[in-house]
C-alpha cells in the first residue's frame, strides 16, 4: 500500500453529475506502482516456472529431454509419457488412495481442531497454557525419531497397511499446527459478539454455530488446505506404513520412476507429477474464494 497523498486530477470544475472526484497520479506514484507490478510479475514467474517446466517436460519426447538446448515448449507434443506412466504404475488407484487419505485427514483435523482451539482460547487456565506450549514443542520432533515407535504402536493396533492407520497418523501429525493456527483466528473474534448473541437468547451451541464459526471461515479454509496439502504430499509415513501395492499413495508411486544413482524415467515421471499436482490445484482453486470471502464477512465495525 502506498502512503502517497492523492491529488485532484484536474483543477477544472467537474460536471455536476460526477459523483466521485477523479484524481491524477503523480509520475512518481505511477512509477512506484509499475515497479510493484513488475516485482509481482517476477515473483509469479518465479513461482510458476517449475510448474510450467514440469508440464512442458511431461509432453516432450525422450529425445527432446536429452537435448542440450532444451526448448521452452515441446516441439512435438505427445501424450506418450502419460500413456507410459499409466502403463507402468497404478496412478488412478494411488490418486484415489491419496484423495481418501488427504480429504479424511483434513476433515478430521479440522473437526477436532476447531472446538479444541476455541476451548483453549476462551477458557484460559494453566492447562490451556501448558497445552499451547506442548503443541509448539511437538512440532520439533523429526519424522525419523518417531517412525519406529509409531510403527510398533500401529502394529499392535493392527493398523499397519491400512489407510485408516495412515489417516490417524496424519491427523495426529497435523493437529498441533492446525490448533496453533486456529487459535489466532478464534482470538480475533470479539467476545462482545458472543455476549450479544447470548443476550439475544442464543444457546452456547447456537452461538458457536451461527456466530463464531462463520467468522472462522478463513481460518477453517486455511487449516483444511494446510492439512490436505500436507497429507497429499507426505511420503515417508506412507512409504513405511503401507505394504500392499493397492494401498500405496501417489507420493510413493512417484518414486517408482526413479532408479539407482540419480537415474530417472524423466518423461513418465513428469507426466505422473503433473497428475499428482492437479488435485491440490483444484482444491485450492475451489477453496481460495472462501479464504477471502470469510475475511470480509466480519460483523464488527469501527
Amino acid at each position: 500500500m502506498t502512503s502517497q497523498p492523492l491529488k485532484p486530477q484536474s483543477a477544472k470544475p467537474q460536471p455536476a453529475d460526477t459523483k466521485r472526484p477523479r484524481y491524477r497520479r503523480s509520475p512518481r506514484h505511477r512509477l512506484g506502482r509499475a515497479g510493484q507490478y513488475l516485482a509481482l510479475i517476477c515473483y509469479l514467474v518465479f513461482l510458476a516456472f517449475p510448474l510450467f517446466w514440469l508440464i512442458s517436460t511431461a509432453f516432450k519426447a525422450p529425445q527432446e529431454l536429452g537435448s542440450v538446448d532444451p526448448s521452452w515448449l515441446p516441439q512435438h507434443p505427445s501424450l506418450d509419457n502419460f500413456r507410459d506412466a499409466f502403463d507402468q504404475q497404478p496412478l488412478l488407484r494411488s490418486a484415489l488412495n491419496s484423495l481418501i487419505v488427504a480429504v479424511t485427514a483434513a476433515a478430521i483435523s479440522v473437526l477436532i481442531a476447531v472446538p479444541a482451539a476455541y476451548a483453549m482460547v476462551r477458557y484460559r487456565s494453566p492447562v490451556s497454557k501448558a497445552a499451547t506450549g506442548w503443541i509448539l514443542v511437538s512440532q520439533m520432533f523429526p519424522f525419523v525419531l518417531v517412525i519406529i515407535p509409531l510403527f510398533l504402536v500401529l502394529k499392535n493396533l493392527e493398523l499397519i497397511n491400512s489407510l485408516f492407520g495412515l489417516i490417524l497418523v496424519y491427523v495426529v501429525w497435523n493437529l498441533p499446527f492446525a490448533l496453533w493456527m486456529l487459535q489466532g483466528y478464534v482470538r480475533a473474534v470479539p467476545r462482545s459478539l458472543e455476549e450479544a448473541a447470548a443476550i439475544d437468547g442464543c444457546s452456547r451451541f447456537r452461538t458457536l454455530v451461527s456466530v463464531v464459526f462463520p467468522l472462522l471461515t478463513p481460518g477453517l479454509v486455511a487449516t483444511v488446505m494446510f492439512s490436505f496439502v500436507t497429507a497429499w504430499n507426505e511420503f515417508f509415513f506412507a512409504l513405511v506404513l503401507l505394504k500392499s501395492p493397492e494401498k500405496q499413495t501417489m507420493s510413493v508411486i512417484l518414486t517408482h520412476f526413479l532408479g539407482a544413482e540419480g537415474a530417472a524415467d524423466l518423461g513418465p515421471l513428469a507426466a505422473a507429477a503433473v497428475l499428482a499436482t492437479l488435485p491440490s490445484l483444484v482444491f485450492f482453486a475451489l477453496l481460495q474464494r472462501r479464504l477471502v470471502s470469510g475475511m470480509v464477512s466480519g460483523a464488527v465495525k469501527g
Binding site: 536429452g66 532444451p70 476433515a107 510398533l152 502394529k155 499397519i160 544413482e261 540419480g262 537415474a263
Partner: protein, 429 residues
Amino acid sequence: MRRRNFLGAAVAAAPAATLLSGCADDSDDGTLDFLSLAWQQESIKANKALVAEWNSRHPRSRVRYVQGSWESVHDQLLTSFEGGEAPDIIHDEANDLTDFAHGGYLADLSGLLPGSLKRQIPKSTWDMVTQAGGVYGVPFLQDPRVLIANRKLLERSRVRIPTAEKPWSWAEFEEAAKELTRGRDYGVAWSMKEPVNQSVNLAMSTGGSIFQREGGKNVIRFDEPESRIAELIHRQVNKDRTAAAGSLGMAGGDTLPGFFSGRYAMVPLNFSYRQQVQQQAPDGFEWVTLPLPAATGGAEEGRVQGVSPQTLSIAQDTSRKKTAMAFIAFLTAPDRMARLARADWLVPTGEEALRDQALNTDKLGWSTGVRVSEDLRASPVLGVRGYPEWKDKIATPAFQEYYSGSIGLRSLRDKLVDDGNRILARYQR
C-alpha cells in the same frame, strides 16, 4: 446454508471412518511378498510376467509383486524389519545387505540354495554376498562401469579404438581425452554427484583397495595404488582441462545432453545407462560402448573393477523360507536371469545366462558387458560396517572437494583415512 454444510460434513465423516476401518490388512493369506526394485518399463513388465508365470504354476504358493524404489528401499526395509513386517523376498543391492545381515534381519541362504543355482554363479560373485560364512542374497544382476563414447568423434581422432580384449591403458585414456578435447568440447565428462562408489571401485584396476582387513578389522588405506585414478581424474579436470569441471556435480544421466551435443566425447557410466542413451539419442547419433581402461594395458589384473551386484534375499522372519528360495531359484534360472538382464540393460551373473544369444551381440554394446563381466570383483565396500556413514559424512564431500580442486591429495588422504578409521572403529568395538 453454512450450518448445513458443516453438519453435513460431520455426518458424512462417521460412515467414512467406518468404511475406512475396513481397509485394514487382509493380505495375510499365505501369499509371499516380493519387493522388487525394477523401475524401467521393460523391467517391470518382465518381473510382473515372471511373477504371474510362477503363480500360474504354483497356485498354492502365490507371490505378490510389491513395487519398491531404489531411492527409499533402505529406510523402508529398516522400519519394516524393526516392526516385523518386512517383505518375504527382497530385491536389493549387495552393499545394502551388510547392516541388515549383521542385524539378523536376513536369512542365511547357505543351507537353502539349490545346487544348480550355486553352480551357475561363479565363486567370486558368491563372495560378494557372503559375510561371516553366511550367504545373505543371491547375486543375479550386475552393473559394471563402462565408457560410452561418441563413435564419430572417436573415429575422427587418431586414437586407437579399444576392445574388451585390448582395452586402453589409463595412460592411453588420458591421451585419448587430450585428442578428443577441442576448444570448449571435452574429451570426457566424469559425473561425480555420487563419487565414492566409483572412486573405490575404479581404484581396484590399479591394484588399490581402500578397505582392507588388518588384524581381523576393516581399515581404510589411501596410498599410491588407491589414489592413482583419483589423481588422474583430478589432473584431467584441473590441469589438462580434458575433462569438464561442470560435470562433476552431475548424476550420470545429466551428462547425456552434453554427450549428445558433442560437448563431451566420452562419458564413464554404468552399463545400464545404455538404455537412456538409446532412448534419448537424437536421430543419426552413433555411440559405442567401450571397456574401462586397464592399469597395465590389458593385463588381467589391471582390468578388474569392483561391483556391488543386485541381490535377492529372504527375510529372517518369513516362515516359508523354502518356498521363498524356490521362487528365487525360479527367477534366477538361466533363461529368466538373462531375460531380466535384458529388460534392465544389465549383465547377469550366471555363466549360462551370460551365454544367452541376445546378450552376445555387438548391438547396443551388449557384448562389451558380457566380456567385462569376467573382470568384475567384489567391491571393497561389501561387508564393511560403517561404510554408509563414512561415505555420506566423510568421503562424498572429500572426493568432491578434491576433484574440483578445492583441496589437495594430502588433505583428501587425511580426511578419508583419519576421519574414516575413527568411524569404522565405532562399528568394530
